[in-house]
Homo-oligomer: 207 residues x 4
């Protein structure tokens, strides 16, 4: 008898939304474990017992998948930011909350942050992408807090909001660098948040 074609069982049928979910989960795991390049689509597929083709039914490309994984993360971050702000009663408190949130996010999932910093930011397809828009909404939260603080007289108004926003996020990220990519020790989330907030607030305190 000739070798029969190894008829593999079809994976369990799933409604679209659910399948997307499982793929996203597997992709996230794979990407964070091995990085983008070292991850193969076949590898992702194997984790959830489907074939590569199935993944391409739902995502146009491997890169698309990466972007989708990160988009979900940003979604959650944005929600957390909004929640945090609701409980902040002064601009300074809002600022502190957002700084802490950002540090916490980096602290909690370094691999995902590495992915974001390494594989996405600065790539040609980032500008104007959904992810970029989400990022803008997210950092916009802090810009809003600053603007409100200026309006209400808590902060001096002669420095551009965008510059302040970038200083905060740029500072945080730069400072997290060795934690993320080197052999740096854990981030002191609480302390750092206080220090950064302090630096910025005193820098923008009205005379």
């Amino acid at each position: 008898m000739s070798d029969g074609p190894v008829q593999r069982q079809h994976a369990a049928r799933m409604p679209r939304a659910e399948r997307v979910e499982t793929i996203l989960e597997a992709a996230r795991a794979a990407f964070t474990e091995k990085g983008f390049d070292a991850t193969t689509v076949a590898g992702i597929a194997t984790r959830i017992d489907v074939v590569e083709g199935t993944i391409y039914k739902y995502f146009d490309s491997k890169r698309d998948l990466l972007l989708a994984v990160l988009a979900r993360w940003y979604e959650a971050l944005l929600a957390s930011g909004r929640t945090a702000l609701r409980e902040a009663d002064t601009p300074r408190a809002g600022l502190l909350a957002l700084v802490r949130l950002h540090l916490q996010a980096i602290h909690d999932d370094p691999p995902l942050c590495r992915l974001m910093f390494r594989e996405v930011r600065g790539e040609r397809d980032y500008e104007g992408s959904v992810l970029h828009r989400q990022n803008q909404r997210y950092t916009g939260l802090l810009a809003d807090v600053l603007r409100d603080g200026m309006t209400q007289g808590h902060f001096r108004a002669d420095l551009p909001v965008a510059l302040l926003r970038d200083t905060v996020y740029g500072g945080i990220e730069h400072h997290s660098w060795s934690f993320l990519f080197g052999r740096g020790r854990a981030l002191q989330v609480g302390l750092l948040a206080e220090q950064i907030t302090d630096l910025v607030c005193r820098g923008i305190e009205p005379r």
Copy 2:
């Protein structure tokens, strides 16, 4: 079929140092024009009329070449930083000078900065590399200024120097992002330098 026989003459023999020079120049041009991945070693070789093998006589790998290109750039930057500091008579003046220098560097050679941010930082081989060490020396200039300022009582001393340093450089880079990678408009070097310095100084002014 690919290009014909092209019976090429041996390229002019050159003393080692000179040959290294031409290679570095060609590599810099190629990398900044097309990015690291899109640049081929063969392409670099062609620019100076040698073959790939010749390049490998002088550099161990394509990546090595990139690192060497950037190392030269940092060398110059470091020298500029030192010069600038010599003319600064107060800590604040020193800080302003270094901020301005950094902004100017980004302003003057965006492609090279892109290379640095995109292809080098965050890569596994950066930590501990020569380039990293140079970067540390370079940013160390600013750290020194801050430390001196604290010692001399110009700056409050209760915030970590490293955090301040990262805030400055992180802020600058974050803020340059859209200029480098998006369709952002030119950097206002002078104005930005003033604003950043102002923000930081008032933030760290002793009460």
Copy 3:
């Protein structure tokens, strides 16, 4: 991610014959627009708002679909040929009519002809296919005319009918080539028909 959920309604149910009709129509459009390979079954399905599976209910394979499309065309051609012959009163008139018909067909639907020449003829599954049989019936019309002409003494009988037939059809097709595949100008149907008929009937020997 690929197109959203697109919760589609079931397409209107149709009696078999009618559904076959719509599929054939869509397939013809798709194939002639983009060629066989570039056409996807999914694309054909989309045109008539059904899913791929539906098409496979009616046709065994994509190739089958192509063959069916062309078979309809041949059907019409064959009918035209028969009609044309009915009005021809001499062998030469019959020959002229068939030559003109063939040229006209090429002239009227170049995309379909391209399909026939490019994707079907010379493929392994053509020999012995329904399409091939139709082709034989169609070119058989001309063979019959020739045979009749020989029997009746209008034509010399020492050349194989098959060779004559192939010379006519091969000549026409070869000559249409640049019109079909190049940037050639329109076919001069009437003139060419006369010339070809003349050539075959009289040869090129001067009287």
Copy 4:
């Protein structure tokens, strides 16, 4: 010990021209044996004990390789045609020689002809290609003979040379079809050449 990288011996070094030769030979064999699609570049490489990359050093793509194989064949054909003409002392003799040559070529290497008819002719990249130009030179030989014959009064001059040329080559090819693609019997080169020449020269009108 970790798995050493199976260091395969480098294939014998060859000068460019010679290597091109071996590749072309292997490609020709592979293509004619299995057709274009079924042939893999890896398979070609294996035949001559090199790796795929080597082939891509000399040819830009698999298709390029096919075209190059056929170009060589045409080269030879063109030369044969010129030789044949040199010995023909009348236009009719020239015509006969070229017809016979063409039939002989088809007879001698059906697989290569199949390649030409199936994979090249009618493809988008054929028009304007080197191959096309060669084909034009080749068929131009026959056009020249016809033109000369007309000038010298051996042939009537009221039919377009291009039409005659296409009739000859189209007729031959059409007639060879079943030999090439079906289960048809061998071509009767000599007989067919006589008949075709006769047909073209005298037509089918009885004297």
